[in-house]
C-alpha cells in the first residue's frame, strides 16, 4: 500500500521499519510493525503542483490488524510511527551484492535493492513453499536486479530450496560478495550458516513480537552470539536491529 508521508520519510534507510496504529480503538491495542518497502518523493505531472513524499508498505493479511489495513479507503488517515531501527550497511561499491528473501521478508529488501543497484551488480534469490510466497519479482527486475526463484513444490522457478541456488552462485562468483537476507527464521538460519562457513559478510533483518518498537518493553529481543543464562546478551530487534550482522547473533546449529 502506498501513502503520502511526512517529509522525513524519504531519508529512511533500507531495512528500517514503521509501527502502524491500525485503529483508534483499543482492539487491536498494539501497533503493528512493517518494513519500509519504498520511500520517495512523488512529483505530480501538472506544473505547479507540490511534490509529495510517500511511503510504501508491502504486507500480507494474516490477522486482525492486517485485515483492517486491507479494508482502509483511499482517503483514510493512518497513524504511523517511524522510521525506526537500524537499517542495512550498504558495503563497498562494485562488489557483488546478493539479496536473499522469502515471503513478506522481501518488503524491506526492495528499498535496499534500489540503493544497491546504484553502485553494484545485484542478484536476488527468492524462496518460498509455493508460488504464492513469491512476491513482486517484477519490481526487482525493473530495477535491473537479476532474480533467481526457487519454490519447494516447484510451482515457480526451480524446485527446491533457494539456499541451494545461493550456494551454487557463491561457488561461481569471484571476489567476496556481500549477503543481505530477510525472511522466515529457518531461511535466515541457513543463510547465516552458509555465510559463516565461507567467511562472507552477511546481514539479516529479523522479526520479533513488538509492543513499543523503540527499545523500552524488551519484548522483541533475540539472543546475541555470546548469550547464555550466565552471561545474558539479549539484543532488541527494534532498537539494536532489525538488521544485524549475522555473526553477532546466536543461531541454531
Amino acid at each position: 500500500m502506498r501513502m503520502t508521508a511526512p517529509s522525513e520519510f524519504p531519508a529512511a534507510q533500507p531495512g528500517q521499519f514503521v509501527m502502524v496504529r491500525v485503529n483508534d480503538a483499543i482492539d487491536p491495542l498494539l501497533r503493528r510493525p512493517f518494513g519500509i518497502f519504498d520511500v520517495g518523493v512523488h512529483t505530480p505531472a501538472q506544473t505547479g503542483a507540490a511534490s509529495q513524499p510517500y511511503l510504501e508498505m508491502l504486507y500480507r493479511v494474516v490477522g486482525k490488524g492486517t485485515g483492517m489495513l486491507s479494508a482502509l479507503h483511499d482517503t483514510d488517515l493512518l497513524d504511523v510511527l517511524g522510521p525506526l531501527g537500524k537499517g542495512f550497511q550498504l558495503g563497498a561499491p562494485g562488489e557483488e551484492k546478493i539479496i536473499v528473501g522469502g515471503g513478506v521478508g522481501l518488503a524491506p529488501l526492495y528499498l535496499l535493492a534500489k540503493e544497491l543497484v546504484k553502485q553494484s551488480p545485484v542478484r536476488l534469490f527468492v524462496g518460498g513453499r509455493t508460488r504464492d510466497d513469491v512476491l513482486c519479482i517484477t519490481e526487482f527486475e525493473r530495477l535491473g536486479v537479476e532474480c533467481y526463484v526457487a519454490t519447494e513444490d516447484g510451482s515457480l522457478g526451480e524446485c527446491g530450496l533457494v539456499t541451494e541456488a545461493l550456494i551454487r552462485r557463491l561457488a561461481a562468483c569471484d571476489g567476496t560478495p556481500r549477503i543481505f537476507a530477510c525472511g522466515p527464521h529457518g531461511m535466515l538460519n541457513a543463510v547465516a550458516g552458509i555465510a559463516a562457513q565461507r567467511n562472507i559478510p552477511c546481514q539479516v533483518s529479523l522479526e520479533g513480537y513488538m509492543a513499543c518498537g523503540m527499545g523500552a518493553c524488551l519484548g522483541c529481543v533475540t539472543p546475541g552470539h555470546h548469550h547464555s543464562n550466565e552471561t545474558p546478551d539479549y539484543r532488541c530487534v527494534c532498537a539494536d536491529g532489525p538488521v544485524f550482522d549475522a555473526a553477532e547473533l546466536k543461531w541454531e546449529a
Binding site: R21, I26, D27, P28, L29, L30, R31, L81, G208, Y209, M210, A211, C212, G213, M214, G215, A216, C217, L218, G219, C220, V221, T222, H227, N229, P232, Y234, A239
Partner: protein, 304 residues
C-alpha cells in the same frame, strides 16, 4: 485561569500527577525524542536488580483483547551498569526520576535501597514486591503481608529517600498488604502491577508465551486497578499512585477521584510514546473546562 496540577507525594513535589510506569518507559532516554520530559510529573525506570538479569526466552509478549501479556522476566542491566551508563542521562533531566527495584532476598532489597539512596540523581525509590522470594521457596513477597512488612522495613532502614511500595494485584486482600507496608514505614503506595494471566494457541495446543503465564496490562485491567485504589485509599492513610490501563486524561482523573494522588501511565506509552505528556495536558484542559482550580480537590472526591 490555569488550574493547579501540582501534587506532592511522599515528599516529592510533582508539577503534575502524571508519571510513567516502570518497564514501559525504558530508562527515560528511549523516549526523550517523543516526550518533553519536563511536561510530566516524574518517570520511573525499569526494575533493577543487583546483578544483570537475562529475562525469559521469547515470545515474551502477546496481545489480548484490550490488553497485553508480558513475561519479560525482569531483564535489566543491573545496578552497576545502571549507575555507570544510565544515571548520567538523568543529570540533564528536569523531572524527578524514580528507580524501581527488586531483590531475591530481603538482604538484596536492602542492599539495592542503600545503593540507590546514594545516587543524588534518583529522587525516589519504588520497591517492586511482586517477584518470587527464592530463599523462602517461591513465596512471593507481594502476597504475604508478613513478608511485605519485613522487606519494606529493611528498605526503610536503608534509605531516607521517598519510599514507594508497588503492590501486586494478585492477592485476595489488597488492603492487608497495603496496611503492612504502611506499618513498615512506606511513604506511598503504587498499585497495581500486572495481573497474572495466560494466552493459548488453540491450533498448536500450546501456551503462546514461552513462560506460559505473563502479566496482563492495558485497558483490560483498569476496572480492577480502580477498585483496588479505592479500597486502599479508604483504609490506609498514605498517598497512592494509581496504575492500570490509563490511556487518556479521563482515565487518569477517574483514578484521582478513586483516591489516587498521582497516576502512572504504562502500556499506553507503547502505543503512543507521547501518551504521558498528552494525558497531563488533557487533565489540565479538563480541569479548566470543568471549573476545577486545583487537582488536589479531586483526590478521593468520589461520591459513593
Amino acid at each position: 485561569m490555569k488550574p493547579d496540577l501540582s501534587v506532592s507525594i511522599a515528599g516529592l513535589e510533582l508539577r503534575n500527577p502524571v508519571m510513567t510506569a516502570s518497564g514501559t518507559f525504558g530508562y527515560g532516554e528511549e523516549f526523550a525524542e517523543y516526550v518533553d520530559l519536563a511536561t510530566i510529573g516524574a518517570f520511573v525506570t525499569k526494575g533493577l536488580s543487583l546483578r544483570p538479569r537475562a529475562g525469559n526466552p521469547t515470545p515474551r509478549i502477546v496481545e489480548t483483547p484490550g490488553g497485553m501479556l508480558n513475561a519479560i522476566g525482569l531483564q535489566n542491566v543491573g545496578i552497576d551498569a545502571f549507575i555507570e551508563k544510565k544515571v548520567p542521562f538523568l543529570r540533564s533531566v528536569a523531572t524527578p526520576a524514580i528507580a524501581n527495584f527488586f531483590g531475591n532476598t530481603i538482604d538484596e532489597y536492602a542492599e539495592l535501597a542503600r545503593r540507590l539512596d546514594a545516587i543524588p540523581e534518583i529522587a525516589g525509590l519504588e520497591v517492586n514486591i511482586s517477584c518470587p522470594n527464592v530463599k523462602q521457596g517461591g513465596i512471593v513477597f507481594g502476597t504475604d503481608p508478613q513478608c511485605a512488612f519485613q522487606v519494606v522495613t529493611a528498605c526503610r532502614e536503608a534509605t531516607i529517600k521517598p519510599l514507594i511500595v508497588k503492590l501486586s494485584p494478585n492477592v485476595t486482600d489488597i488492603v492487608s498488604m497495603a496496611k503492612a507496608c504502611a506499618d513498615a514505614g512506606a511513604d506511598a503506595l503504587s498499585l497495581i502491577n500486572t495481573l497474572t494471566g495466560m494466552a493459548i494457541d488453540l491450533e498448536r495446543r500450546r501456551p503462546v508465551l514461552a513462560n506460559i503465564t505473563g502479566g496482563l496490562s492495558g485497558p483490560a485491567v483498569k476496572p480492577v486497578a480502580l477498585r483496588m485504589v479505592w479500597q486502599v485509599a479508604r483504609a490506609v492513610n498514605l498517598p497512592i499512585i494509581g496504575i492500570g490501563g490509563i490511556m487518556n486524561a479521563r482515565d487518569a482523573l477517574e483514578f484521582i477521584l478513586a483516591g489516587a494522588t498521582a497516576v502512572q501511565v504504562g502500556t499506553a506509552s507503547f502505543i503512543n510514546p507521547g501518551a504521558a505528556q498528552e494525558i497531563a495536558e488533557g487533565m489540565e484542559k479538563w480541569l479548566a473546562e470543568n471549573g476545577v482550580e486545583d487537582v488536589k480537590s479531586l483526590i478521593g472526591a468520589l461520591e459513593a
